[in-house]
Symmetry: C2
Subunit: 235 residues, 2 copies
């Protein structure tokens, strides 16, 4: 039975890494003394080891030790044997490329389905949807496919950002980009604002955090969804 | 001999489509009474025909007629026989997918090399670089490759946006994204702000418009380049 926290971001402004989620993570990982960290997305091009060190520091506060996937000779086995898994943010193209390269797309999906507690933030949340096609990231590497884990029956847009009505910049707003996605794809997209997350227990998906989330459907007007809404109907 | 205008954006705030470029385009397309418009990137998912109509209206002001590539049975021949070519903005993933699908990547490069006057804006400028990997667009379709025309020996980031120092949003700044690109690629990236363009005459590349542009090199500090700078040294 799936047991997931799928968060928009790891970090809120003026807070430390994962700070706002720690009370939730204490419960989420209550049966884990150690978790596996998938460091592949390595934000800003930092090394896997540097990234794991940041995560280790945050989880030490709730007495959980962390092992980075880069420390294992066999990443498939690492995923299969993990008692909990966290995939961090960074670049989604890099993350997805590495998941395919290391053959852990299927093992990761299997581990989540059998109930291994999972946490994703940003890119690590993006991969929980049907495809990575609503990421905000730059295509700095070419992945073998845009298909992702499909642990939820829709796509996510993490770090969802409302249009800045004061801006004179002519680049597309996030809403325009998602509308463009729907010119080619019928998959619903949930815009998750920073501070929001999804709790997935089995097939039940609930919006958490203090904010509303914005749901985009093909040929539909966007809808604002209240926190604690049961999102299991979206598909 | 190449003869190109590679612009960051089609439209400046509070102006009409292509307005700021029209004096430049009058000279650039002085030998053309008709140009080919490559409408593939179709912004916001509008139809090719709708897109061509917008472009037709703008070029009518300088007495140039426009035929959209969607009006031709044979797009390869349309590119080969065009007396001038404009590729408009929209989604770079869609544009590149369509260029490959219609087999016009090579014919387009050949037409530009033999001297067909070319105008690109936004996505239509992105494809002039070595790869589309520094686009800002959402990966809404999966192109067969990220490789683009290579008409200039570096990559572009159109609609370049300086960091908003007042924002509490934790998503990556444009500079952070380009830095991530350089963790995996050695190609220089030129951040072209809205209102800037490159003039390419043969192998000479000159920065035009009123603004500076920002040059990012692997393992180098970014540099601000003045307008009218000869950029032919960048590679």
């Amino acid at each position: 039975m799936k047991n997931m926290i799928i968060a928009s971001t790891s970090t809120l402004a003026h807070q430390s890494y994962l700070e706002y989620l720690l009370p939730t993570l204490t419960k989420h990982f209550k049966d884990c003394s150690n978790i596996l960290f998938i460091s592949y997305a390595r934000p800003g091009g930092i090394t896997h080891e540097e990234y794991t060190a940041i995560v280790r520091l945050a989880f030490a506060k709730i007495n959980i030790t962390v092992k980075g996937i880069e420390e294992f000779e066999n990443p498939v086995q690492a995923v299969q044997e993990a008692s909990g898994i966290f995939t961090g943010g960074g670049n989604t193209f890099v993350l997805v490329s590495q998941l395919y390269k290391n053959n852990i797309v299927q093992p990761l999906a299997d581990a989540i389905r059998k109930g291994t507690p999972y946490l994703g933030t940003s890119a690590g949340s993006n991969i929980c949807g049907l495809s990575m096609q609503t990421t905000n990231d730059m295509p700095i590497v070419y992945p073998p496919s845009f298909k992702t884990l499909g642990m939820i029956p829709f796509n996510l847009n993490p770090h969802y950002l409302d249009p800045d009505t004061t801006s004179t910049h002519m680049g597309e707003t996030r809403e325009t980009r998602i509308k463009e996605f729907h010119a080619y794809n019928s998959v619903p997209v949930l815009g998750l604002r920073e501070g929001s997350w999804l709790e997935v227990i089995g097939d039940k998906i609930t919006l958490k955090g203090n904010l509303t989330a914005r749901l985009f459907g093909q040929n539909q007007l966007p809808k604002e969804l209240e926190t604690e809404t049961d999102l299991s109907y979206i598909k």
